[in-house]
Structures are given as C-alpha cells and as structure tokens.
C-alpha cells in the first residue's frame, strides 16, 4: 500500500475547483499528512479549464510528482485533458451530467450526480462539495475532519452556510457508500490510519500556506505600516490578503492608481520613517524601474515584491517562470546597491519578508523579493512560522535626542561602511533634502567633480559592505553525494522532492546519492562565501532554473567564474515535476 496520494480536480472557472482543492488539502493536513497543493488556471473568469493538484505524503512533501491516483472531474474537459495522468489502479469520479463511457479496465470510473444532488438539496452551487464528500468515501475516510474544517472556514458566514455545505458533503459521501460495488480506491484505503501513523497520532501543528500568504504574514509581523499595489497576477492575492487584515493589525493596504504611484507612495512613506512595501509582477516592475533608482540615489529604503510570471509583455499571466532574475539585478539607470532575495519555500519566504525590511532600512536602498507563480500560489504544509524568531533592525535612524546636540546634521555624510544616519521628517535639527539630483552632505544639489566621486563611492561602499555579510548558498542533503543539484528561488522545492526520492532509492542500492546547493540570497553576491560553498559540491553538478536562457547560470559565471556540469531549463509555464529532474540526474 502506498504512503501517499495524488488527487487532481478539474473543472471550468467558476465551478469551485479551488475550494475543492483547498478543502481536500486541509483535510489531508489535519489527518496528519504533509500536503502540496498546486493550482493551474488560464487568464479568464468563466469557462476555461482550472485544475488543482493535491498531493499528500506521510513524509515531508516538498513538491509535485506526476502520477494522479484520483481524478475528480467536474466537467468533460477534465476527462479529456487530465485522464492520461491517472495511473493504472487509479480512479476517476465524475459528474453524471457528463456524457462519458470508459473502456479502460485499468482505471475505475464512478459517475456521481454531483450537480443533481446539490440541486435537490437546494444548493446548486455546492456540487463541488458533493464531489469532496464522494472523494472522502472513495479514500476510505469519514466526513468528520472535513465537516469540522467547513465549520471553521465558514464561521464568519453563519450556521446556514455551514449546514448547507455539510449536507452536500454528507450527501456525496453517502451516495458512494450506498453504491453496490466496493468503491474504495485500493491504493489508498483507510486514509485516516495513514495520517495517524504519519503524525504519530498527534494533531498536525503545521500550516497550509502559500508563498503570497507567507510573505504577507512576514510583512505584518515585521511591523509594516503601508502596502500598496496595482492588481497584477500572480501578486494580486497579496493585496487581497493584506487588505483583509489591515484593521486587525493597524497598517494600511491600498490599491494604488498604477504601479508608478504604488512604488512612489512606498518611497514617500519610507522617507517619513514608515515601513512600507509594494508588490507587482514583471510588467508593473518595468513601470517601477525609474523609481528604483530614486530609492538608490536618495538612499530611501524600499521593499518591492516581484512575483514573476512568464513574459515578455503580458506573456502567460497565470503561469510560472523565473525569467526576471537578470532584470531585477540590473533594472534602472545608474549604479547603486539593490538587494535581490529569492526565497525557496514557505519558511524562507516568511523570513525574507523580515530580512527585506531590515536590509532596506539598514542599507537605505531598494530590496527586491522575487517569488514566482509556482511558489506564490502553491499551498504547502510548513512548519509553524510563529516559532521563527527574528528581531527588527531599523538601521541608522538617528535618536532625536542626539540630534539636539548636533549642530550641523549631515544626512549624506561619508562613513566607513557607506551608510550614514537618517533623520525623519519632523525631528528637530534633522533637516535634509533627499535629492534625486547628485547632492552634498545635506542633500543640496552639488555637481562638483569631487562631491560626485565621494557620493558615488559612498553609495557603492554600501555594496561592498553588504556583499560581505550576504549569506552564501545552503548545502542541503548528504555531504557525500555524487551529484549536486544547484537551485535558486522556488527551484528548491522540486529539487528537494527529487533528492528525497532519489536518496530513498539509494537506500535500496540503486542510485548515486544526490544533494542540493540552494541560493536564496542572490544579490549582491558574496563571492567568497559562494566559492567556499561550491567547493563542497559533488563533482557532477546540475543547475536547474525556470527560464530559457540560463539567467542564474550566466550570473554565476560572470560573478564567480563557475559553471555547472549540466543544466536543466524549463520555460513552458509549468513547474518542474520531480521526475523531470530525476531523469536528468540519471543521465549525468
């Protein structure tokens, strides 16, 4: 019997595919599994083809694998498009309204009148919940955990909504139970028992969270005062999430008139001393470029979240890519320090929201946090973030009491580390001008040759200081591996899944051991730390990234002079599946 399960749900936009995915994912998590949930959808509001892939494992589940055990089809498109992914011995449940006859003997098919049952119960919109009930029965589970979950989730909406949903859930479950044939999916029978063994009988303390939520939670925790954004997939959920919680925590989240307004509001707020952040995707980031330079020149902190999707231009709005690394590292005119952080999982994303504010304020310069659709919208079981202990570092903000003793405050004084102290508007004796023109120590325009050189050197000194303290890459997995997979950003997830699978095979004597070198602090590069870490790589290295031109690879070559033995690039908008990485590793 397998210790994992893979469920795919498909249907048109508007049919509640997302809810089915979320409910099943959280149910499995509450039962004790580690879960990964990945949504796919085209850029439209009604129709089309949306799917949710929910995969649960007894051990840690890092990312996606290909096989599907149970397919839930809310429409005929799902049956034609996703059926090939179902493995022999797997099962398909579909809405009886779909005209479908199968001739496969390897896969079990079960027609369930989901829409009819929901309609009869007076709640036609809950056909998807009927499907959840049926799926639970098929997997050998009761409805208990899920009913409790629905009650928690709909607690705001009142008892009527809760009971309507639970009725539909139970109707779906009962329909399967009453069927004459034995409809339990052999591969995955008695789900709760497996969950119990996974969690040692304890209720899971893990969170089911996606990258956008982890980032938002991190920013809230880090004392953010203002968030601004102009909607752009896949960054929009950050705006929605932060708006929903603003009253509870006292910050402001608002939709700006456009991205240029958004980033400049953030710079304005940071200038006043308030921690602020903006979020966007590639196109919006392009509009913000001139303002990155404004932050760099005036030495005003800025935190910018760039959630990548495939470009150029409008590209594939709802799909994934890591195609903007070189762009983020080089965007905007002139020479100045910017940080580029690319977290690789939920814990890192949460932590990097914290880091970003600290770095922006400590170095008085822009910080770009790069996510991508895959990390930002996939939900996964993660450790309880509240136990991660960070402290807030606001950098060199002057103490107003000290300012009183200073006769001639110089905001842009030359210092050993390049960072000078910052007063905040309103502080007595701290007057300065944050000037986008080249400026002297107080910020007044100065075009002299000597001051220009001093101030350029001052700003670049920060780059030197910062690069020395940037953490190097992490080596993950066995030290004595024969092959090292090199990743940046979200590549960590599929690579870890691949590593785990391969090293398990290794126990059985099949394969070479694999480990991982993961980069999440991307820019500026700490060349010494990186060279040191690269020395610990195996002799064979495979660099994986989700773009066509190998952007991280060329950055490493340019900055460090290092190249991997082989590379794997994917740019069809779909994330890496562990199998694709394993296949490449085996070839090496």
């Amino acid at each position: 019997m397998k210790s994992e399960i893979s469920i795919k749900v498909g249907g048109p936009a508007g049919a509640g595919v997302k809810s089915v995915g979320q409910i099943l994912a959280k149910t499995l998590q509450r039962l004790g599994f580690h879960v990964f949930e990945y949504p796919e959808y085209p850029s439209l509001i009604r129709g089309g083809h949306n799917t949710e892939l929910i995969q649960a494992l007894v051990e840690k589940k890092y990312s996606l694998t290909k096989p599907v055990d149970l397919l839930i089809a809310l429409d005929d498109k799902t049956l034609s498009l996703d059926l090939p992914e179902v493995i022999p011995g797997g099962m398909v449940i579909f809405d009886s309204k779909i005209d479908f006859k199968s001739n496969s003997s390897k896969i079990k098919f079960l027609s369930i009148p989901m829409s009819d049952i929901a309609l009869k119960l007076g709640n036609p919109l809950t056909a998807n919940i009927v499907a959840v009930g049926a799926a639970l029965r098929v997997m050998g589970s009761t409805t208990e955990t899920t009913s409790k979950l629905l009650a928690d989730q709909f607690s705001q909406k009142g008892p009527d909504v809760i009971s309507a949903n639970i009725k539909s859930l139970e109707a779906g479950w009962n329909f399967v139970k009453d069927k004459s044939f034995h409809p339990i999916l052999d591969l995955i029978s008695d789900l709760p028992a497996k969950g119990r063994s996974a969690s040692g009988g304890k209720v899971s303390n893990e969170l089911m969270m996606n990258g956008n939520e982890a980032l938002s939670s991190g920013a809230i925790s880090a004392g953010m005062g203002l968030y601004t954004a102009y909607p752009m997939t896949p960054s929009t959920p950050i705006l929605h999430f932060l708006a929903a919680h603003q009253n509870e925590f006292g910050y402001i989240s608002l939709q700006a008139a456009d991205e240029i307004t958004s980033v400049n509001m953030v710079i304005g707020a940071m200038h006043m001393g308030v921690r602020a952040m903006c979020g966007t995707s590639g196109g919006g980031f392009a509009l913000m470029n001139e303002s990155l330079a404004l932050s760099g020149m005036t030495e005003t902190p800025l935190v910018l979240v760039l959630v990548q999707r495939p470009g150029p231009a409008t590209g594939l709005p709802t799909w994934t890519e890591q195609g903007e690394l070189q762009y983020a590292v080089h965007a905007a005119h002139g020479e100045f320090l910017r940080f580029v952080l690319a977290p690789g999982d939920i814990e890192e994303t949460f932590q990097m929201a914290f880091d970003a504010f600290n770095l922006a304020e400590r170095y008085q310069t822009p910080v770009i946090i790069m996510l991508d659709k895959f990390l930002s919208e996939s939900s996964m079981s993660s450790g309880n973030l509240s136990s991660i202990g960070f402290s807030i570092d606001r950098g060199k903000i002057t103490d107003p009491k000290k300012l009183n003793r200073v006769k001639n405050f110089q905001r842009y004084q030359l210092t050993a580390d390049g960072v000078s102290s910052r007063s905040l508007p309103g502080m007595e004796n701290g007057i300065f001008c944050a000037n986008s023109d080249e400026h002297e120590y107080h910020g007044l325009v100065d075009e002299s040759s000597s001051m220009r050189v001093w101030q350029v050197d001052k700003r670049l000194k920060k780059m030197e200081t910062a690069s020395k303290m940037m953490p190097g890459p992490q080596l993950i997995g066995p030290k004595d591996a024969k092959i090292t997979i090199v990743t940046w950003g979200s590549g960590k997830l599929p690579a870890q899944q691949a590593m785990m699978t391969m090293n398990k095979k290794q126990e059985t004597g099949n394969n070479e051991k694999v480990n991982l070198l993961h980069f999440s602090y991307i820019w500026p590069m700490n060349a010494n730390a990186i060279r040191e870490a690269l020395k610990n790589c195996a002799t064979s290295t495979l660099l994986i990234e989700q773009n066509a031109t190998g952007q991280f690879q060329s950055l490493l070559k340019e900055q460090i002079g290092w190249e991997p033995t082989a590379y794997l690039r994917k740019y069809d908008g779909r994330p890496f599946y562990a199998e694709e990485i394993i296949e490449k590793v085996v070839e090496l």
């Binding site: 203002l226 603003q246 304005g268 905040l424 309103g426």
Partner: protein, 289 residues
C-alpha cells in the same frame, strides 16, 4: 559648500545658504517669497513640514528653501507625497512642481490624488513651458506657442489644472499670480490650512522662454473671484481662461473629508507611531491550520 542649518541666525528661517539660480525676473522668485511668508504666517517651523519637489526650474527650489525636502523624479512628487501623508498625517505635506511635471509626466497622479482628496497642497508653477529643458511647449502652453521641437504654432488646447481639479472635486482649488506676492501668500496659507487636496495654480512668468506671457500681460487679464464656487459647474466655468480674463483667488472649495480620515487605523495614531514594532501573528497563523 552649501550648508542648510549650521550658520543660520534664525533657526526658523526658511532660507538655505544657496541663493536661487533662477533667471533674474523669473516668476519663481515671487512664489518662493510667498511660500516662505505663508509658512511663517502659519507658524510652521522648517522641521515641521515635508516638501516634495518635482524636477524643473520650479523643483530647483529644493535647494533654496529650508525644510524636510524630497526632490523626486520628474512627474512623481505627488505620488511620494500621498504616501508620506498616510505615513505621518499630522505633518503638512507640500508639493512644488512645474506644469510639465504635474500635467505632463505626472498628470495621472494629479487627477487621482485630487479625486481621492489626499490632504496635500500642490503649488503648480504654471509658466506654459518646460523651463529647465530650455523652452519646449508644456501642457499649459496656449495654442499658437512656438518652440524648437514644434517650430510651427502648436494647435493643442492647453490643460487647465483648475478645471481638472474641480471636475474631480478636489477640496480647494485656487489660482494665484507670481507677480502679486501678498495675495499669493494668502492663498498658499489657506491652501495649506485646508484639510483636503489643495491646489494653487500659480501664473508664473518665464521671462526667458515665454516672454509673451509677461507680468504686464497677466496683470491686464487677472480678475479676482469674489467668492469660491461650491458647485462643480460654476467652479469649472469660472476657472476657464478667456481672451480678456483669467480668474484668480479661491475658485472652488468644498468640505469633503480628506482621504486619510477614512481609515479607522489613523483615528488615534499615525502609521509612524505604530510601524517597525514586531507584531504577534499567532491568531493570524491559526487560520492556516
């Protein structure tokens, strides 16, 4: 080298050690004088005001006026200013920029901040040209204006910033004249005191690149309105230029609530007072289980 504060006799003086680099006779001198006078009148000390400057001859005032300054990008000062106002809504926030800056590159910020009624004061140096880039037509250039890039007479209709602001029900819309410092000081101080978006559209002679619109030319046409219009249509009508008459004074005023007052978060404290402290998110995280 320039110094802002060290050898100042009067710590509340609005002068820096740099004397303005504008052309002799430039209308910007009058605006500079009126602004300093207005701040003194309102008893706002230089460290209690946040300026956001555009890029142009007008924005160069950033080095000539003492106060917390932010010399932004061309077109973006309003966007910085509205973020700053939300950050510390107890501080007066003043935008100073040209017609090219506010109505060309930055016109969307102008419209959106006016319709949101952000509590900022916008002082628009309206000289009909891009001064700093040597005299090209600005969005307020009148038809018939000639310049290097468009040597034939321009045929575009000018943007009327007052009409635009009134149409979007900005709180306070006024027009002043750089050649009449007393009246301008009065307008600017009322604009700063108004709780909501306030515009001071200043007719500003550019003696170098727009000599046709001279002090005399304006004096012959300006015509103070007696009372501010309360309704949009009258306001817009009064704001329009005719061949003979350009209205000055407070053209339109309403009592809309300023944008930031809509936030319960800001009822008692500023964001500045609450930011940068670690928040407990235990309860938030529970929702993910």
């Amino acid at each position: 080298m320039a110094k802002i504060s060290s050898n100042q006799k009067n710590p509340n003086s609005y002068n820096t050690s740099v004397f303005p680099t504008w052309c002799p006779g430039c209308g910007d001198f009058g605006i500079w004088g009126a602004l300093k006078q207005a701040l003194e009148l309102l008893e706002i000390n230089p460290d209690q005001v946040a300026f956001f400057f555009g890029v142009g001859c007008s924005g160069n005032i950033s080095s000539f006026i003492r106060g917390y300054g932010f010399h932004s990008l061309h077109g973006r000062a309003i966007a910085n200013a509205i973020g700053a106002k939300l950050a510390n809504h107890k501080m007066p926030v003043i935008v100073i920029a040209g017609d090219g800056d506010l109505l060309g590159e930055g016109i969307s910020h102008f419209i959106h901040s006016a319709r949101a009624n952000h509590d900022i004061t916008v002082i628009l140096h309206n000289n009909g040209v891009f001064g700093l880039t040597t005299g090209q037509a600005s969005p307020t250039a009148v038809t018939g204006f000639k310049s290097k890039p468009i040597p034939t007479e321009i045929t575009d209709e000018p943007v009327n910033p007052c009409a635009l602001a009134i149409m979007h029900q900005a709180g306070f819309v006024s027009r002043g004249f750089a050649g009449d410092q007393e009246v301008l000081c009065n307008l600017i101080s009322q604009a700063i005191a108004h709780p909501g978006f306030s515009l001071v559209d200043v007719l500003q002679p550019c003696v170098t690149f727009n000599p046709d619109k001279s002090y005399i030319w304006y004096r012959q046409r300006i015509n103070p309105v007696k009372i501010p219009a309360k309704d949009v249509l009258t306001g817009i009508k009064n704001s329009l230029w005719t061949d003979k008459r350009i209205a000055t004074g407070i053209i339109y005023q309403n009592s809309r609530d300023a944008f930031h007052t809509n936030y319960p978060q800001l009822q008692t404290e500023t964001l500045l007072a609450t930011t940068g402290k670690k928040r407990n998110i235990q309860k938030l995280l529970k929702g993910f289980k």
